[in-house]
Symmetry: C2
Subunit: 230 residues, 2 copies
DNA sequence: CAAAAACAAGAGCACTGCTCTCGCAATGTG
DNA sequence: CACATTGCGAGAGCAGTGCTCTTGTTTTTG
């Protein structure tokens, strides 16, 4: 085995081990030394592959974003009737929720408190954008379909219009401001719900997380005009 | 100064110093030894007052919940026309958002990733309940007023009704299930928005956080039937 | 006033991330 | 092919962490 091959191999082994540790003990308790022991190396040797603990964290963050992005895109693509935006929206929401419940520590790494002293490098941006991208894609398609919003929606003033300027470059086809606000609300709600649930704030309040999440996302779909309330 | 007085004094000094450190370096980087140095003690002496780092964290969590609870209740009480539920709702939302922006590390401690290996004791529950309580109180008042919801709202099935059983004991007067779902959505949205904003997920997407937050909470108020969309 | 409890200080243990040096082995080049 | 270069693993070491235990002192209590 050539030296270069060996290097990628060992790098992968370290990252896989780190990922296992992450899933077990969470991001803050991730120990580079413990990972090295598990791999069968001395701790200083790991630094040949990851310059610092933060770089290892970055790799794990990108990996997690990609995995979540895969899950979301797969869920969206799995809906056969592409015009059924409600179904696609619900599939995306469920994918996020399911992935988060299956990988709570990874979810916390992505959407929980930022690791102190750690600034996410630009590497993570495109990976992170995939999840948000799924929402934005659906928003654009809904706009193209000319769907009416399912609930009375406030007009967007000039201040808010300017505030939304940052998201427009990410769009290929335009989305009306009021519709965009609704989609951003849905985005906040889905992640807010998931975080509150996973971080224990619904404890003893909501007795069936899945049922409640389904009710909430169903309501969001209605507000977005993707379904009608009977 | 008597020994008992001295004890509460020192306990408070330690906690205040810890609070300062928390605001500067964040919860994960909180060092008991650094706090001890700052207070002018040796680290082992701190253990006379807080049996472990987690107990100190618990004290900080309760303090933060109380502070946020104070801010929220003060905001609610500050609205003169008590029947103007929209104004009160917006005041509560703004209080949360403002406090979070002013105390990002404290917010992360409360609503970010749980500290690993740390299980919040029951002491924190009543303090945490004050914030949620503000939402629930408004929900009950809105129900008593007989307000119509501002947007078509899906019926609540038996599964979701059961899921909501956990929140009912916290109510003094009943709230219809569909209205409760809308208020829980608002709760998730407010904290979801705040977390996404503070944890950097709106970076370069939303250019004016305050404007966007106002637009979102305004929309929530409308959906809750507290205001009418013109 | 003596016994008991509370306390501050220090040493020490088992960790952590990270740096540096030292040999060894694989690789590239004259 | 021989030699210099480079990559790499191991180890020692530094400064820091949470936490425990012992020692001597001070305060409170019986």
């Amino acid at each position: 085995m050539s030296r270069a091959e060996n290097r990628v191999e060992i790098t992968r082994t370290i990252q896989e081990t780190a990922r296992r540790h992450l899933a077990e003990v969470g991001p803050a308790a991730l120990s580079l030394r413990a990972i090295a022991r598990d791999v069968g190396m001395v701790s200083s040797a790991v630094y040949r592959y990851f310059p610092s603990r933060d770089d290892l964290l970055t790799a794990l963050i990108v990996e997690a974003y990609d995995e979540l992005g895969d899950a979301v895109e797969r869920a969206d693509a799995g809906v056969r009737r592409r015009t059924d935006l409600a179904k696609r929206f619900l599939a995306v929401c469920d994918a996020i929720h399911d992935w988060a419940r299956a990988n709570p520590h990874e979810y916390a790494l992505l959407y929980g408190s930022p690791v102190p002293g750690y600034a996410a490098p630009d590497t993570t941006v495109p990976a992170a954008a995939r999840v948000t991208g799924a929402f934005l894609r659906l928003a654009q398609e809904s706009e193209r379909e000319g769907d009416d919003l399912g609930a009375p929606t406030r007009a967007v003033g000039s201040t808010e219009r300017k505030a939304l300027d940052g998201v427009r470059p990410a769009l290929e086809s335009p989305v009306a401001d009021d519709r965009m606000v609704r989609w951003l609300i849905a985005w906040s709600t889905v992640f807010g719900h998931t975080s509150l649930e996973l971080f224990g704030h619904m404890h003893r309040g909501i007795l069936d997380y899945d049922a409640h999440f389904a009710q909430v996302t169903g309501q969001l779909a209605a507000d977005l005009g993707l379904t009608r309330v009977p």
